[in-house]
């Protein structure tokens, strides 16, 4: 499942997208994020359970600002959470 966390407002789209089918709950992205935007929770979507990555409740409403320091400024730049994810489960809307 593609879980979109974030919002859309007049200045653009701000979403972190986690593919819960790919996410194995290893938690490497949580360690990699310098601003504590991500956390591991119990997977409540699947009857099977397990862990999955989500954007914390606190940051969902302000990821435009929380994620701004990692945004590419000039040229290509990979984000720490995307680089840390071995299963390529994390993508962004920007």
């Amino acid at each position: 499942m593609q879980a979109h966390y974030g919002y859309k407002n007049g200045s653009g789209d701000y979403f972190i997208i986690v593919d819960t089918d790919k996410c194995n709950g290893c938690g490497k992205c949580v360690e990699a994020c310098p601003y504590g935007v991500l956390e591991l929770v119990e997977n409540e979507f699947d009857v099977e359970g397990g862990l999955m990555t989500v954007v914390t409740e606190e940051h969902r409403k302000k990821i435009k600002y929380s994620c701004a320091p990692c945004k590419p400024v000039s040229g290509e730049r990979k984000l720490p959470c995307v680089l840390a994810c071995e299963t390529k489960a994390i993508t962004h809307s920007w």
Binding site: M1, K8, E44
Partner: protein, 293 residues
């Protein structure tokens, strides 16, 4: 002293039991309790078929509401909480259902519930609740493929409509109908914030706009915001709307007109989708527990 004024935002609470069904014949009795931010719903299912339900406003204490809404659904049926084989809690206050065996997010439950209410052709579910609005894409078995939740603010939600109903003095159940009582649509009000939208609507009322026209402007602003959200996950047929706001004809007909896609007609109350989904998950979990699958 003036008479005690009517509270226009207060929507009625109700319950229903399917007649001529004996629950003693059922093998698996499950319940889904959906504690929403504004409304709480309980659905009792016998072998995966809806038997009884209740809908009430969420009070200040979620635990109490969870107990109240469930016992109200069971009222008159002879069933007791102990008879329920498995209970799943969902919704905003899902962790506060004291007797739930498990919690599942409302996103998964709404997809599953919409699948039960509208049939297996459903691909896009739009749940407009009291405090947030969710766009969900699901597959043919009701499993979530993609979702998006607008939890940033109350613009484009049921709570916003309640505030607005109070402002113009129209009962919330009739608000949608009143907003359609026009020949030409006005420009929408601001859609970024309920407080701004309310202030703007008030200004329009003071300018002498009839309340029908202001209602239309408010509904249009909500619809614009909802459609913005929908386009992000993508809309695929069949499209359905669940949650309390699905009962507002002013919102539903405008979404239909602006998107060019007609939402399916509900065979059951669409506000129950979350609770029904939870009860269906409860059945699957209980079957797994006793080793049926």
């Amino acid at each position: 002293m003036s008479e005690k004024s009517r509270e226009f935002w207060k929507w009625p609470e109700y319950r229903h039991t399917k007649p001529d069904v004996n629950w003693r014949e059922a093998k698996i009795i499950t319940a889904g309790v959906d504690i929403g931010s504004v409304g709480s719903k309980a659905a009792i299912m016998l072998d995966g078929e809806l038997y009884a339900y209740s809908v009430m406003r969420t009070g200040g204490v979620s635990e109490e509401t969870a107990i109240k809404v469930t016992s109200w659904a069971l009222e008159g049926t002879g069933l007791k909480t102990e008879n329920l084989h498995h209970v799943v809690g969902t919704g905003y206050g899902r962790v506060n259902v004291p007797f739930a065996n498990r919690t599942i997010t409302e996103i998964a439950c709404h997809a599953r519930g919409a699948h039960y209410i509208y049939g297996p052709t459903v691909r896009t579910v739009l749940d407009i609740g009291g405090q947030d609005c969710k766009a969900i894409r699901c597959d043919e078995v009701g499993k979530v493929a993609s979702f998006l939740m607008n939890d940033k603010c109350a613009a484009g939600t049921g709570r916003g409509l309640e505030v607005f109903a109070d402002l113009i003095g129209v009962p919330i159940e009739e608000l949608g109908k009143v907003s359609l009582n026009l020949t030409e649509e006005p420009p929408p009000v601001s859609n970024t914030c309920v407080i701004f939208a309310k202030a703007e609507s008030l200004a329009l009322l003071r300018q002498g706009w009839p309340k029908e026209k202001v209602a239309a402007a408010y509904h249009l602003a909500m619809v614009d915001r909802i459609i913005d959200l929908l386009t992000r996950v993508g809309i695929e047929k069949d499209f359905v709307i669940t949650g309390g706001v699905a009962k507002n004809i002013g919102i539903v007909s405008r979404i239909e007109r602006n998107l060019g896609i007609k939402p399916l007609e509900a065979r059951l109350d669409p506000i129950l989708a979350g609770a029904i989904g939870a009860a269906l998950f409860a059945k699957a979990l209980y079957e797994k527990q006793i080793g049926l699958r």
